[in-house]
Symmetry: D2
Subunit: 310 residues, 4 copies
């Protein structure tokens, strides 16, 4: 697998492991990377929205990517470089590419409004990072308040040859996948990879609509890769059975604010992270919330023998 217009499967949004005192936990980076690979990840995404990127200093970001890239070997690492300015975006993009990243991901600033503003922005971003850096466009209106039509996405793809992937996490997004695929089939835009997000809570149908896979950080990436496999193999009922078993937890993890705490807690319970600590400022999970997660995990364990919770 490489990070290009034919990329498919599961690119896991990697958590950033911290010690309880706020330092980056480097041993956990290695263990986490190994875990993702063992789950069958086709790629990793560092410094995504759920990677606590804004809490990392520039040098920490570079060091984290360098370590993850080395550990991941042939599995490509994509890095979020979304930034309020093109200068820091450029600095981060060049830095992580030197550190071995396969490409970057860019989300639009929430001040953009018109179609032309959005298209212009991605042209300027591509100039800032350089034509040689492959990038994914993150389409997440709920988080960024920027709405991109299929036509706008097509314009961005056409005007920027180094755009290789759309991370579609509009909500709802099923029709958008179909619309982009229809534009491709009509020859109105070259084909790029489409991965989906939103914590995976529509992945069952997204794959059926033509998505190439998912880019999300749900704490059971092993389920995500199995789901992609089943769906590609045409095993529809088994795919939905698997998906439905996980949906209660996926939905719970998809809560804004507290979702990252849930994800880190589950990764800790699964033995991957040494601690579920977030760097400050963080939204903590209440005791009631932790109990709810435990309850969901117990129900999941009964349903899904693959959920092996140490």
């Amino acid at each position: 697998m490489s990070f290009d217009a034919r990329a498919s499967g599961v690119f896991v949004i990697a958590a950033t492991p911290f010690h309880p005192d706020g330092r980056i936990d480097e041993a956990s980076i290695d263990r986490l990377t190994d875990f993702y690979l063992a789950c069958g990840a086709n790629g990793l995404t560092a410094l995504g929205v759920m990677g606590e990127a804004p809490k990392l200093a520039h040098d920490e970001s570079i060091a984290l990517v360098r370590r993850m890239v080395r550990r991941a070997g042939k599995v490509p690492v994509v890095v979020g470089v979304t930034s309020p300015g093109f200068a820091p975006m450029r600095a981060l993009a060049r830095g992580v590419m030197e550190a071995g990243a396969a490409g970057v991901m860019i989300a639009p600033p929430n001040t953009l409004r018109t179609d032309d503003q959005i298209v212009a922005y991605f042209g300027q971003a591509r100039e800032a990072i350089g034509d040689d850096v492959p990038f994914a466009v993150q389409d997440y209106p709920l988080g960024f308040s920027v709405v991109m039509t299929p036509q706008v996405l097509a314009r961005i793809v056409t005007e920027n040859p180094s755009c290789v992937m759309l991370k579609l996490e509009d909500w709802p997004g099923l029709e958008k996948i179909s619309a982009v695929r229809a534009l491709e089939q009509a020859g109105r835009v070259r084909q790029v990879s489409i991965l989906t997000g939103n914590g995976g809570i529509f992945l069952d149908f997204e794959l059926e609509r033509g998505a190439n896979g998912a880019m999300t950080g749900y704490a059971f990436p092993d389920m995500l890769t199995e789901l992609v496999r089943l769906s590609a193999a045409g095993e529809r009922e088994r795919a939905h059975d698997l998906f439905d078993a996980h949906l209660p937890l996926m939905r719970y993890e998809q809560q804004p604010g507290v979702g990252l705490a849930v994800r880190k807690l589950v990764l800790t319970k699964r033995g991957v992270l040494a601690s579920d600590a977030q760097r400050s400022p963080a939204t903590a999970l209440s005791p009631a919330g932790r109990a709810e997660v435990d309850y969901l995990l117990r129900r999941l364990a009964r349903l899904d023998s693959r959920a092996n919770l140490g």
Copy 2:
């Protein structure tokens, strides 16, 4: 059941039935009302966000409420009167109360920002509709971009004796339910009814956190009332089993824009509505979307014998 601070159970957000040519389908109003009552609804909510309220002329709104109230008998009908101005809000509120409504529901305009602006707004709204009209506050930040803290909600309750209910559909909202209940238990605010929304996709835990029930329009209100019953009876596992069986469809119906089309389609398939028509402008469901709904219904029918789909 009445619409007061002790209200509990399921207040169903009623769809507004239309003929394919856009006229209101009065026979379906009756059938829909009967259906909701047969499902065990404890109350009905007309002209909610999913009731296509902005597409109805004033007189149509009054007529719809009058018809629903008559049909519903002792079951209280609450009416959404959210409006950009206090004059139309007052006109609608007085009109529906004369038509027999039990109370009204008010959401804040998306221009409010500070805590004080929000509290002041609800005081002005109460003055506009009159002190004698019981009302629910709709707390739906995802839809309205207005964020109310538990303290702000408490101030609204305290300053407005006719506020009898909070419809909490923040996302995430579990901690908010706990926080409001904690303020009540600390004696810092009088107790009001808390019903939840968000299409029901967190109702399993919302009930456990202290919500009195749900106010949502999911097309299987029979499941919602059964869930409330099981949860109140302490049948936790059975409650979650039932909930989980419905979650894939609930999630699908919860999509903004297309969700109402899904809901009306399912109500039509269940024989309740004569047509799934929405009044223009409407977001239609694509053939692929309709097929996905059919697929979800087939899976649900296998899981839940209560889902009796003509």
Copy 3:
């Protein structure tokens, strides 16, 4: 003058006069209308943003328009019918047209984002009010958070033959006027009337850029009509001298929230309104604010002998 694509001059945004107890002051409607006509107004706009429209019940709105239309005689009255739903928009538009209005003005709801959403909205609005009702599009991004490019405005004009006017009050808006005029000259869109707003604080240059006049409610409409006359006559220096003399007060009146209080206070001081009362809820002017207005009026009186303050 009529309300069509060749409309020009000053369409005054009419204040809505109230008695201190909140009732509409009908005698002041007549006096205000007479005053605007004596100032040389080419048209009137009722129920604009500064007309306290959301505080009026439907019947009050119709009655106000009927009275103003009768008094205005041949001078056209345009009416704001912006609404969260097409049903009340239609009801108001049909009602005011029956009452003698010359046309209506429509602003987009602040939930619109993409170019296509905006264009679709105005098509739906035109269908709602009827093809026979001439309308103006209000382009006020600062107030409505909807950004329309010149191309989007051109699409709206082209797709809706009954669109006769653009009220341009983007900020900044000078380049937008030039861009729309350039599209017209390139034959890419038919010519419509362009009036400007923003309280008039860029009217000096807007006229030079090709605007046909202003649609604003500055409390010295006599200055506005004189400015349009001077500018059309090529008396550039005199036009700017006049404008600059008023700019300190225009700027003061242009403050959101408190601006309407300033405007009503000045109209009261000029003997036009019997009271500067706003209907509740209102933002009042503090004693310090009132003193500042007095100070600005005294300075203006020295500069501009036309400012005849009873």
Copy 4:
């Protein structure tokens, strides 16, 4: 003058000079600094909203501040460190303080909504930059969509001893100045410096309401310092005469997007900058816009002999 709670006068928002090819123009930094000091500036603010901060790499920002600090001598240099994350904010704040800055300025991210979120944010920001770094809070709702009440500002001041200044540029903002001063006089919050922004277009009355001066980058800082002097000396009429002469240009420069182009053009015409180049991406001034600036400068030159335009 130092950057503390007693700071007053004019803190000029410094432009960032670029060569036409995008490199920083270091000679112009020196000349610009000299010019600001010759105009009587009491302080300088680097990397403000109008300083093109997001286009500078971290090292460029530090170098610019170091150079400006050296040149400014005893005049304090405040630096904007607003950032989407606390890690880059901390890195920039520590870096510029080592480079000799007197303190920093922080604006809230546009995702904050509730009073408590805003107060918490500034506490976290203070922890990030360190308790030893004096800072100003920038209150600019029009730009940031975050509305802070006087009470919220008071809480921020009280909870953060290193908060020494409020940059108030709410719109309207006159009442807010009075409200904060009233809280101080009632002993409910310690006194801090209040400087105002908004391009200076309300500075005439802001000074009379109790502001200690202005923090803005209007291209005639010599006028701003003279205005502050006249106002402090009680020369009200002369202060307003001077202000009114500049208001047409100030208003023109205050246009979002194109305002920076106007400002740099005027500074170039005044011989301070070698070029009016902005680093890409930039909003350029059209030929019509440049001609309008020329016209305004000619009118100003006639009115104000102090406007000495190369």
